[in-house]
Amino acid sequence: DARVTQTPRHKVTEMGQEVTMRCQPILGHNTVFWYRQTMMQGLELLAYFRNRAPLDDSGMPKDRFSAEMPDATLATLKIQPSEPRDSAVYFCASALGLAGNDEQYFGPGTRLTVT
């Protein structure tokens, strides 16, 4: 069955290193979201794309985070340089559209630990 996939599932890195997380949305879904989840802040929206174009990245720290969709089957989230406070689980989700009642399908997440 169709699923959102994310790689890697786990990443441990040292402060200052670059981290790249990848997401493959469900084929045919035109909207892709990036979220970050921590115990303290819950699930936070970082950025989202519609037809590969960024619509809103106001949730992302601009100086170190960047999100792109090189093609319809790949979304990337990059952190450079990484900091310990970036430690979290990062989720990608895809949806058919942007309507409020469209179901978002979440990937399994990338657990990032920055030491």
């Binding site: 819950g42 699930l43 989202y48 989720f91 009642n101 179901e103 978002q104 979440f106 399994p108 997440g109």
Partner: protein, 111 residues
Amino acid sequence: TQLLEQSPQFLSIQEGENLTVYCNSSSVFSSLQWYRQEPGEGPVLLVTVVTGGEVKKLKRLTFQFGDARKDSSLHITAAQPGDTGLYLCAGAGAGRRALTFGSGTRLQVQP
């Protein structure tokens, strides 16, 4: 900024008990969704409610959208260990194109 507050934050109950989780906001939402997240996985959609006062049932789960579309509740009857997880409400506001997620309710059902 539209905020969704969930209560309680944590709930630990015995198998067979009933429970209710609340999702409240001062803002009006055009629709509201409930998701469940299990450890190590992403959230999975349970239901979407769109009409004020709407009630939807999913087996032992009953979802209600408030008349004013500012709040919602999730009631579980005869909870089972398989209901254990993090329950998240998410609202779509008029004119907004992305969901706002609540803070979550972590439910533990003991056998």
